[in-house]
Structure formats: structure tokens, C-alpha cells
């Protein structure tokens, strides 16, 4: 058996482990081991590559690996759970950046040799360069936005994105048609990068779950393309696995908002459309922590509906403490989690898990919606659009058709809110004006702590 055969066999072992690992990530009980299995697969893939005869420049390889490890381990260890969305964005971005850099070096190497490589290598190389660069710069913007270093939304006309995309494809075609120019290749990376920047810049926070999983899928696809260019099966399979799974996740996120992926990237929600009519003559009822405490303590079933507001206020631990106190008093507490609550897929679940909330109390939208009819109190913490009944009833509402948590079907609703501002979508929420709804204004964390204090005194 030749050395190349050994490498191929190890690659097959590696990507089998990726598939098994991913499969195990489907259940909470097996997920930890699933992740470890995939990591072992990765170690095997790296070792297999290092025994390749083409490997040279050991010094540089060691430097690269050392820098990566020195940066990766501490940042992964120290990141707070609340900062997880931006960390995922950053790790994703560097992956895309690596693809773009590798493709440019490959192209330079080809030019030094026989000129433009044949199309079966050149096309995937160009594809990897474009997608990798989009993913890198898009992820950087996503990171800055999630970090809140970059605030607000930037209105970028959709023609800009369409123009940049067309330009990138045009440059790629010129190169593929036979033009041999390193400068043009760099320009391609630049234009694709600008596209990544502008596409993500105009996206609002509530769409971040779609954006992050799209960028993840993109990096996967670019890695698969790089694998085709390099004739490397491990890259092809692993990249494509991620590309496919990321696409599925993206579609699930977009479906959960009743929007198409194109709609997320090419038009802001409600932008240019008719503004939602305000609710005239409606009054809201505000309540006190003491009243909330009484309502909660005498309930049989309380459903907590967390949203991004809970993450911002870092209220997850206070919420978990309150739930524990209520359970001590015989109240059943469940959590109703909307698929796009927060800034990345599953964001609320991670935060609540960090606060030691058992995962079997975290209910998905379809499971919890049937429960609201027997719910005594629905406690909405920093969530807005995902509870807006207008999505069911008001046909001209921008969020009409979006699946929501049927909070309004509960016997009573308590909404914890910082102020009376509307949600990300800028739409008034009729839930707040419902006679059975009471609002408790204030920072989510201190409000919950106050309620907890009152419950303990009862």
C-alpha cells in the first residue's frame, strides 16, 4: 500500500467520524461525545495530511499551528456564554479567510508554473475565493454588530449588492476565459469582500440567526470547492457536510420568520413598505413586582417566553432562580422558545442551559403552543415580535404569516419590558393592549430579581 493510499484511508476514517459525530449532535445525551468524535476525526485528517510527501516548510507549519492554538484555546475558554454568537461568527470568519488566502496562493503558484490551471481546477478555485472572501468579511461585520461595536442599520440599496455580485462573477469569468492576472484575482477577493461587507451591514439584529447560519454554510461550501481544486477528499466531504447542514439550518431559521433567505439579504424588513398602523386608543396596563409575584405563585402552569431582551439584560440566571422558587411552591414552569429568539439559532437554549435550566423544560414552539390554553401566566421576558398576534390576524402586517408563540391564548400575560418601544420590526404589538396583559417596566434582570424577592416573602 502506497503512502497516498494510507492517506486516503485515513481521510475516509476522518470523514466517517465527522458524519457519526454530527449524527450524535442530534440528541442532548450523545452530543458531547459527538463533538469529541468529530474532533478526533479532525486530528486524524490533520495527521494524515502531515505524512503527505508534498508537505514541506515544517518550521512555518509549526508557527501557523502554534499561533492558531495560542489564539484559539484561550478565546474559546474565556468567552462568556452571552458572547457566543459573536464568537461563532469570528471562528466562522477565519475559516472563510483561510480559504480565500489558500486560493490566492494556489493561483500564484499556478501562474508561476504553466499559467492558468485547467478549468476543472480553476473554476472551483475561483468559487472558493469568492465565497471564502464573502464569508470572511461578512463574518467580521456580523461579529462587530453582535459585539455592538457597530450599531444601527445601514441602508444599502439592493442595487449595490447586486452590482457587486455581478462584478465578482464577471471578474471570475474573465479569469476563467483565459486572462492570466494575479492582480485580477486580488481584485476578485476585494469585490467579493465588499459584497460580504455590504450584504451583512444592512441586516438588522433580529435577522442574525439567518445570517450566521448562512455564513457558516458559505464557509463550508468554500472549503468543499477548495477541496475540488486541491483534489482533497477530506476537504470535499467535510466542507460539503457543513455546507448542506448549514443550508438546512438557514432555511429553518428563515421559515421561522416566514421570510425567504433572499428577502433577509436583499431587503430589510418593512423597508420601503407601508409602516404598520399603530394601535389607536389602546391603553396598556402596567403592574408591580408584588402583583406579578402573587399571580405567579398561585398559578399552576407558568410559561416563560424569553427573547433577546433577556440576553441583553443577562437575566437568565435570575429567571432560572425565579423558576426554581416557583417550582418549590408547586408551580409548573416551562419555557417556550421561538426558533429565532435571540441572535443565533438556539441562542436562548444556550443561555438558559448556562443558568442550569434542565433542557427538558425548554419547549419548542410547536410543543408549547398547545399548552398556552391551559397556561395560567405567560411571562414574556424581552421578547416582542415572536409573540405578536398580528402575525396571525393582520394581513397587511410585515410579519403576517410568521409562526409565533400563541402567548395571547394564556389566561393572563405578563410582559417584562424596558420601555414602550416597538420590537425590531417596528411593529406595534396588540398583545400589549390586550386587557389580560400587564406590563412590568424596567431592566429584565432587576425586574425578575424584584419579583423573586416578593415571591420569597409570600
Amino acid at each position: 500500500m502506497s503512502r497516498a493510499d494510507v492517506i486516503t484511508l485515513l481521510y475516509i476514517l476522518a470523514f466517517s467520524l465527522f458524519i457519526v459525530g454530527l449524527h450524535m449532535l442530534r440528541g442532548p445525551r450523545t452530543a458531547v461525545r459527538g463533538n469529541q468524535v468529530a474532533a478526533i476525526g479532525m486530528a486524524i485528517a490533520v495527521i494524515a495530511t502531515l505524512i503527505d510527501r508534498r508537505i514541506g516548510d515544517w518550521g512555518l507549519i509549526v508557527v501557523g499551528l502554534a499561533i492558531g492554538t495560542a489564539v484559539g484555546i484561550p478565546s474559546a475558554r474565556s468567552v462568556r456564554m452571552t458572547a457566543m454568537p459573536q464568537m461563532v461568527a469570528l471562528f466562522n470568519g477565519v475559516g472563510g479567510g483561510a480559504v480565500a488566502l489558500i486560493s490566492v496562493v494556489e493561483y500564484r503558484e499556478a501562474l508561476e508554473g504553466a499559467g492558468n490551471p485547467e478549468l476543472s481546477v480553476l473554476i472551483p478555485m475561483l468559487f472558493a475565493a469568492i465565497i471564502g472572501s464573502i464569508s470572511f468579511w461578512g463574518s467580521i461585520v456580523a461579529f462587530l454588530k453582535l459585539q455592538e461595536s457597530l450599531k444601527g442599520r445601514f441602508r444599502i440599496p439592493r442595487q449595490v449588492n447586486a452590482g457587486l455580485a455581478a462584478l465578482a462573477v464577471a471578474i471570475a469569468i474573465v479569469i476563467a476565459a483565459g486572462t492570466e492576472s494575479e492582480a485580477l484575482f486580488w481584485l476578485l477577493l476585494l469585490v467579493a469582500g465588499a459584497l460580504g461587507l455590504s450584504a451583512v451591514l444592512q441586516i438588522g439584529g433580529a435577522d442574525m440567526p439567518v445570517v450566521i447560519s448562512t455564513l457558516n454554510a458559505f464557509t463550508g461550501l468554500s472549503a468543499a470547492a477548495a477541496g475540488v481544486a486541491l483534489d482533497n477528499t477530506a476537504l470535499i466531504v467535510a466542507g460539503m457536510l457543513v455546507g448542506a447542514s448549514g443550508s438546512i439550518l438557514t432555511k429553518q431559521m428563515a421559515d421561522a420568520m416566514n421570510r425567504s433567505i433572499g428577502n433577509v439579504f436583499f431587503s430589510g424588513l418593512g423597508a420601503g413598505g407601508p409602516t404598520a398602523p399603530g394601535i389607536e386608543g389602546g391603553t396598556v396596563r402596567s403592574t408591580s413586582a408584588a402583583d406579578v409575584a402573587i399571580q405567579l405563585s398561585y398559578a399552576r402552569l407558568v410559561v416563560v417566553v424569553p427573547g433577546y431582551g433577556m440576553a441583553v439584560a443577562q437575566a437568565q440566571r435570575a429567571v432560572a432562580d425565579l423558576a426554581a422558587e416557583l417550582e418549590k411552591r408547586g408551580v409548573e414552569v416551562l419555557y417556550g422558545i421561538h426558533p429565532v429568539a435571540g441572535r443565533m439559532p438556539g441562542h436562548m437554549n444556550v443561555l438558559l442551559a448556562e443558568a442550569d435550566v434542565p433542557y427538558d423544560q425548554l419547549k419548542e414552539m410547536d410543543d408549547i403552543n398547545g399548552e398556552f390554553a391551559r397556561t395560567d401566566v405567560a411571562l414574556v421576558i424581552g421578547a416582542n415580535d415572536v409573540t405578536n398576534p398580528a402575525a396571525r390576524t393582520v394581513a397587511d402586517s410585515p410579519i403576517y404569516g410568521m409562526p409565533i408563540l400563541d402567548v395571547d391564548k394564556a389566561s393572563s400575560v405578563i410582559v417584562l419590558k424596558r420601555s414602550m418601544s416597538s420590537g425590531f420590526a417596528g411593529i406595534d404589538n396588540p398583545l400589549f393592549y390586550d386587557p389580560k396583559t400587564a406590563l412590568l417596566f424596567g431592566d429584565a434582570k432587576s425586574s425578575v430579581a424584584e419579583v423573586l424577592g416578593e415571591v420569597q416573602q409570600l
Binding site: 465527522f18 514541506g56 499551528l65 484559539g72 483561510a98 439550518l249
Partner: protein, 102 residues
């Protein structure tokens, strides 16, 4: 390997990806995403393979950065996923020992 074989592998891998990931509960969406995120760090292999033949300072620098990026992606991705998954617990089991102690 010829292009068509590679495309065949590509298509099959896509179907496996679709199949494996459908029906993941919301609870695990974040770890799933950061786990797959770590897997695409496999581009690291590309850096390792290209750095040998590459020459000149610019190419070396670009590839060291690429390898470092890929390593951050892999190491950081798996670690962060592991940390997150470590937090998911089901209902605490009744502590029999404590009762015995009473």
C-alpha cells in the same frame, strides 16, 4: 482524481449533510452550528498542502496566516462547542446519598 468523481463525492456528501441534520431540536441548534463550524476548519489541510510548494515571503506569510486561521477555527470551534454542550443537563437526579445522610 477526475472531476466527475469529485462531483459525485460532493453530491453524496451534500445528501448526507441534509439527512444528518434534519430534525435537530432547537435546543441543540447553537452547538450544532458551532460544531459544524469547527468542521469547516478542515481548510487547514489546504494550507498545510500548499505551503510546501509555495515560495517567497508573501506566499509564506499568507499561508502561515491561513494555517493559523484554520487552526483557530478548528481548535476554538470544538472547544467552544464542548463547553456549551457541557451545560446542557436534564432534570437533576434525586440525590440518594444526601437522604441516607439524614
Amino acid at each position: 482524481m477526475d472531476l466527475l468523481t469529485e462531483i459525485a463525492i460532493l453530491v453524496l456528501a451534500a445528501f448526507v449533510g441534509f439527512e444528518v441534520i434534519s430534525k435537530v431540536p432547537n435546543t441543540l441548534h447553537t452547538p450544532l452550528m458551532s460544531g459544524t463550524n469547527a468542521i469547516h476548519g478542515i481548510v487547514l489541510l489546504g494550507g498545510l498542502l500548499v505551503i510546501g510548494p509555495a515560495d517567497g515571503l508573501l506566499e509564506d506569510v499568507l499561508l502561515v496566516v491561513a494555517i493559523a486561521f484554520g487552526t483557530i477555527n478548528v481548535v476554538g470551534g470544538f472547544l467552544v462547542t464542548d463547553r456549551m454542550l457541557g451545560m446542557f443537563k436534564s432534570k437533576p437526579e434525586p440525590k440518594a446519598e444526601e437522604k441516607d445522610g439524614e
